[in-house]
Amino acid sequence: QAGPKIRVGYWPIAAGLPFYAAVELGYFKEAGLNVEPLKFAGAQQVMEGMLSDRADGSANGTGSANIAIGEIAAPGTFKIFCSNPSNAKNVLDEVIVPAGSPAKVMADLKGKRVGSGPGIQNVTLAKTVLERGGATGATVVELPIGQHVAALAAGQLDGCYTLEPTGTIGRMNGTTRVLEAGVIARYVLGDPMAPWFGGSASLTSAFIKKNPAEAKKFIAAYAKGVAYVRTKPDEARQYMKGYTAIEGPLTGEVPLAAYMMYDEFKPADIAHFQKFFDLFSEKGIFSSRLMVETMLYKG
Amino acid sequence: MNAVVNAPVFADVPKPAFQPGPAGTHITIRGLTKYFAGWPLYENFDLDIPKHKIVSVFGPNGCGKSTLINMIAGLIPIDSGEILFDGKSLKDTKIGYVFQNYREAMFPWMRTIDNIAYPLKLAGKSKVEVDRRMAELVASFDVKFDLNRYPYEMSGGQQQTASIMRALAPNPEVLFLDEPFSALDFEMTLFIREKLQEVFMQTGTTMLLVSHDLEEAVYLADEVLLLTKRPTKVAEILPYNDPRPRTVETLSQPSFISAKKLSLEIFQREVRR
């Protein structure tokens, strides 16, 4: 294969499934592409990898906000070609509580201690969700996401704003239940069924410019992976193994994300995407307002 | 199962009955055995150290003099045998010890005066008592160097002087002196020698003195213990009974000269054997 090596960074979570499937099913090879998956320990690292020219693209699951921050630092670097929206149906974000918790709605967490993943992005989202959900006066405690179920089970926290598969794990071992899923969609975007474009697959502009043909082929092959996941979700689940920590019975239980290719975006979707970015600009996480339009791959 | 016919019979060598030393024995050593690296240093060694006497130990380098005192003082474990203190246990006996390696025996984190006072503090003496005793010692030793300095700021001889003062401070019942004069200058040697005699005459402290200077050894001794080369045995125990206080005149007394001559002969016979 004479083509350039395409280094794709991924964060080992379920949302990257189309990419994992496309690699395993040989879609990239079929297209004559030489794709090298690179595992990073966080979305942040994937984005920095692309910035420092150690990766040419990212798989789904890489935080859109992380990519955006890179884009603000180096405008014009990233092109999003596929995003994975979540909402009350395609669950990613959720608030969970101990199985025996009396809380019925978000507002019941008023004045309680609520966990969130560490770092300013998670905390901002958690605070916004709690506030708008009526749980005023709740204390947000930063805690690694892997510790959320444990902290709830041990009674150290009253609830957690967390991401899948945490809710599923807690449900399966009977210690926690989901209080509300798709909370960002509901409280930030204003509609439980609105798409929150939390994660995105992207390529660097530099790569697209240098290898326009390969970029096209790559996106097409990636789209095949997306289509596969959409049509045969249960069959696709097996490819989580080896790419993520998910294995065993959990594989069949974790909710799958929805996917939206660049050419499927409708103006309403872009507006929802923009709304998410605007929250972060408003909260000062983005140092300036960033327009989603400019970041979307145009084909 | 095959019965073993005519199996060899193992019999333990019967332990010899304990033989107490003569009356007035302070330290009784019986059947002392000590090996180093598989070689015997002492094997079944017996010795009685008399009470209220000075015993000078004289023997060639490496014959085990330091090791012997260390074993008596309980600092090195013995392989087998017994060491008994008259009436009391080792723990209840107040011991003074001047180490051959006096440099490593001082505590560099204390000023020299505190080093000297240390055994008194151990004995729970009050500040006043300690101060009184220190003043006494300093006056009696006529110390000319600054005891407020740390030991590592002292010359070899000064450290050894301090080491001797420390050993004498608590008025010990038994005093072990391992080459206490080795780093002292001419005057100081004479001076400390007299001091030791003075202390002895006042208190009757049992002393065990290792010295390579025969004159010193005999001059101070009630008994000269001559040791052989390794594996070490008692070559001879020579009594020397000239009256105390012994003085410079003693050194020219025929009894002194003959005791010294005899010791030397035995020593040389043993070393050259």
Binding site: Q44, E48, L51, S52, N66, I69, A73, A74, R113, G115, S116, G117, P118, G119, I120, Q121, V141, E142, L143, P144, Q147, A151, A154, Q156, L157, I285, F286, S287 | G74, L75, K94, I95, Y97, F99, N101, E104, A105, M106, F107, P108, W109, I113, Y118, P119, L122, A123, D131, M134, A135, V138, A139, D142, V143, K144, D146, L147, N148, Y150, Y152, P170
Partner: protein
């Protein structure tokens, strides 16, 4: 000890004249400690200037320094800095006060040390980030947690170094004390503690750095709402590299300062070192 003074000072030293003759340290010796940071900054600057590393990811050193100075000079960095200092000190003090005597004690009885050696080496070799879940279980999600985990990590190092300080020390002084009738306790407090002071100080210095490292790791990964670790992870998330490296600089400089403090303490206390 007044009685000893006249004997101890047989003549008066001409002190003024004397001190004039004592050779002085050349002035440039004082500049030595600055060579390290200067070299670091030059290399760093070169790496950024030549574009080896993008300024986007690693700010020029002067920028980071500027952010550091501005942040510390009443800026928001100051509060986080002080928080980290406070947590580190708490953790370190617990570790030192419990660990040093315990280490010396264990070292003075090799059998006792052998019987706990497994635990010490075991936990020394387990990353604190892997133990976070355990500590979360025991101490909850409170602030105590961060101090506890750092104290534990530092404690292990103090015990290890103090114990080996005693185990490796020469035995002659212990023998001297024993023969003077010192009890085990007296040998412990008058000899062993002192004899092990020097290696203990090496241990204390390792421990203070370790405490700082774990506090920051805990602030980063357990999550906290203050402290340098929190600052580092937050600026990392928003790619504010200037602030991030300013915080890292603050952490490192804090570590250096604490080390120098202990070095000076050691020089003062262990005056017999090397003699």
């Amino acid at each position: 000890m007044a009685a000893t003074s006249p004997a101890a000072k047989p003549w008066t030293p001409p002190a003024a004249q004397a001190s004039a003759k004592v050779p002085r340290e050349p002035a440039w010796n004082k500049a030595l400690p600055f060579i390290g940071p200067v070299v670091l900054f030059i290399l760093w600057d070169l790496a950024v200037r030549t574009g080896m590393i993008k300024a986007l990811l690693l700010p020029p050193p002067l920028d980071a320094l500027g952010a550091l100075v501005k942040g510390l000079w009443g800026g928001p960095l100051l509060g986080d800095f002080l928080m980290t200092v406070w947590r580190t000190l708490q953790a370190f003090l617990i570790a030192a006060i419990v660990g040093m005597p315990l280490g010396v004690l264990l070292g003075s009885n090799e059998k006792a040390y052998r019987s706990v050696e497994f635990l010490i080496d075991f936990f020394r070799s387990t990353p604190s980030s892997a133990l976070i879940p355990l500590f979360l279980m025991i101490f909850g999600v409170s602030d105590v947690n961060k101090v506890a985990i750092a104290a534990f990590g530092a404690f292990l190092i103090v015990v290890f170094n103090s114990a080996y300080g005693v185990i490796n020390a020469r035995k002659q002084r212990v023998m001297a004390a024993r023969v003077m009738g010192a009890t085990r306790w007296q040998v412990f407090k008058d000899v062993l503690i002192w004899e092990s002071l020097q290696p203990s100080f090496v241990g204390l210095r390792s421990a203070v750095s370790m405490a700082l490292v774990i506090v920051i790791v805990a602030e980063m990964f357990i999550g906290a709402d203050s402290g340098l670790g929190n600052r580092i992870i937050n600026s990392q998330q928003v790619m504010n590299v200037r602030d991030m490296y300013a915080s890292i600089l603050a952490a490192g400089a804090l570590g250096y300062a604490l080390n120098i403090l202990f070095l000076m303490l050691e020089r003062k206390i262990v005056h017999w070192s090397g003699r």
